[in-house]
């Protein structure tokens, strides 16, 4: 049996646990261990992309228990994509944190590894209860990371974040209990079959369970009525942590995709139809609110937090059209927006450190040091974030608009998406011009040293976004296949439960 598939979970878990046990080790060694593990994850991510790229599902039966009874890890194109994205993002954040932020509190590297383990587990698992467990792992690591470094703002934001996520976990368990009570299984493939074959009398309960799950994933992904924890939490945490959190909302999006396209996607009247109906207007409203929020932010980190909200709104609105083209376009946007949000959080820290007062607040007119370099970087990053050519954002947005144009209601998306992009453009150009185009006052701030390591990391992240558009064609091909794979849940079920293949073809439409 090939054990490589469980390594993305085991490697950070073991590294994190050893770092906790060996906390007396010199700090440099801890840092190296964390970086080595994350680098290993990046290699595993590349392996996953290649393996899943063949179009076959790769399974790992924990303890060699057969599928509907034991816990199964399953790798498909979407999981591979998320694994690779997490590892790349994690590496960037960890390198940035290693320039000094990780020393501001205890156990940063252990917590970071636990966070990665939770994320990878959530992307790999094929079992709904297991998904809950990995959600909890990534959440408890994120609670501690959010508070890392201490301070009043973090305690305040942390309290909201923790409480709302605990309520979310309780709701998750309610949904799981309902599903298990109705179907007697928690394996996602088996659930899909059972849900499709459920008697009509169970339909209202199944619909209720699916809606509760939507609320739970909506809290994680930050859809409109459930997103008010996000701006404060993201802007209060330290820069590398906030950058890593850029993937946390995408976990919610991933879970929505996985659960609603697979578990509730089969049968003559799929349960997921109601979910897509709800998601569409809520996602558009989220997008609109994100645009307004970006314009009304008082600091660069808050602005970036609203960029995250815009990205969630765009993603979910595009996804809820559920055609192969929109799914693929949304996944491209997912890669772009995660990377850019992370780069912006790091950039905000880089710029904030160069100011004498006010850190990244707009109300304070302190000059920024090294304005030539940082100004150019901000200019490029802003172009990439807004979605102007030649960066990945342009390709992704153009693809989203093209894909949604085939749908009659896609026009709404056009209007809201372009307005939000315009508002973002206004907000970032206002920031850029007030920070970098202010005459005079440059002499004093030049004294602050610029951390070239940090600068290089942010440059690399912006460059990666450029590479995303340069390599657009192969990536788009991969994503188109991913979308196709997502829309054929029967193949997933056939891979997970080979013996029930005959039943599957009978039930599916």
């Amino acid at each position: 049996m090939n054990h490589v598939l469980i390594l993305p979970i085991l490697l950070p878990l073991i590294t994190g646990a050893s770092l906790l046990l060996l906390y007396r080790l010199p700090f440099g060694v801890q840092r190296l261990a964390g970086l080595a593990s994350t680098l290993g994850l990046a290699l595993l991510g590349a392996w996953a992309l290649v393996t899943a790229g063949t179009g076959e599902y790769r399974l790992y039966h924990a303890g060699d228990w057969p599928a509907p009874y034991g816990i199964v890890l399953i790798l498909d194109r979407l999981s591979a994509l998320m694994l690779a994205l997490t590892a790349t993002l994690g590496l960037g954040c960890l390198l940035y944190a290693s320039r000094g932020i990780d020393r501001r509190g205890a156990h940063f590297h252990a917590l970071f590894q636990f966070q990665l383990a939770g994320l990878n587990g959530a992307f790999l698992t094929g079992d709904l209860f297991n998904l809950f467990v990995f959600f909890e792992i990534l959440l408890i690591a994120s609670y501690a990371l959010l508070l890392h470094g201490g301070g009043r703002a973090r305690s305040r934001a942390g309290l909201h974040y923790v409480i709302i996520n605990l309520v979310g976990s309780a709701l998750f368990l309610v949904a799981l209990g309902t599903l298990y009570g109705l179907t007697g299984t928690l394996n996602m493939a088996d659930l899909a079959l059972q849900v499709a074959a459920a008697p009509p009398g169970d339909a209202p309960l199944l619909a209720a369970a699916s809606m509760v799950l939507l609320v739970v994933f909506g809290i994680k992904a930050a859809i409109l009525p459930l997103l008010f924890w996000l701006p404060r939490a993201y802007s209060a945490s330290s820069a590398p942590v906030a950058a890593l959190f850029a993937i946390m909302t995408k976990v919610g999006v991933y879970a929505i995709l996985r659960v609603f396209l697979l578990v509730f996607g089969l049968g003559e009247a799929p349960v997921n139809a109601a979910a897509w109906q709800w998601l569409w207007p809520l996602a558009l409203a989220t997008l609109a609110l994100g645009g307004v929020g970006v314009l009304g932010s008082d600091s660069l980190r808050t602005l970036t937090a609203y960029l995250v909200i815009i990205s969630v709104g765009t993603l979910l609105a595009t996804l809820s059209l559920v055609t192969p083209a929109t799914l693929a376009a949304a996944l491209f946007y997912l890669i772009h927006s995660t990377g850019m949000a992370a780069a912006f959080f790091l950039l905000a820290d880089l710029l904030g450190q160069q100011r004498d007062e006010g850190y990244d607040r707009f109300s304070v007119a302190a000059p920024v040091g090294h304005r030539g370099v940082l100004g150019s970087l901000f200019f490029l990053a802003a172009i990439a974030a807004v979605g102007l050519p030649p960066f990945g954002g342009f390709v992704s947005k153009a693809w989203i608009l093209q894909a949604s144009a085939d749908e009659p209601r896609g026009l709404w998306l056009w209007g809201v998406l372009l307005t939000a992009a315009l508002l973002t453009l206004i907000a970032v150009s206002r920031t850029g011009s007030s920070w970098f185009w202010r005459p005079g006052g440059a002499g004093k701030a030049e004294a602050r040293p610029l951390d070239h390591g940090c600068l290089a990391i942010v440059c690399a992240m912006v460059a990666l976004n450029g590479a995303l558009s340069a390599l657009g064609e192969p990536i788009m091909g991969y994503l188109a296949l991913t979308a196709e794979q997502l829309l054929t849940p029967r193949a997933y079920i056939a891979a997970m439960l080979p013996e029930t293949l005959a039943v599957a073809t009978e039930i599916a439409p």
Binding site: I140, Y143, S155, L159, V174, G181, G184
Partner: protein, 112 residues
Amino acid sequence: MELLYAMTLGVLTTCGVYLLLRARTFTVILGLTLLSHAVNLYLFASGRLVAGAPAIVGLTERSADPLPQALVLTAIVIGFAMTAFVVVLALKAAVELRNDHVDGENPDEDRL
């Protein structure tokens, strides 16, 4: 038994939600605890309620479904850890912010 069970769940959930919506961290944490009790009981009941049947196949004629019990154990462990964490966090916030309001500031005190 089912009626009593359902009523317990209802009362726990109602109290939990009510306390959750209060403005002080202590009551919110109590609310979370009650809610997680309700959820654990609910999860337990998803394997159907049977009396006098062990969760081991073959000992008696009827056996209880062992999976929900395992799920509840997991949920209890996680819930316990999370409650401990949120209590510590609330204490930390209360010390740092000098009040126990969930928003970190007491609107009534600020007005004075």
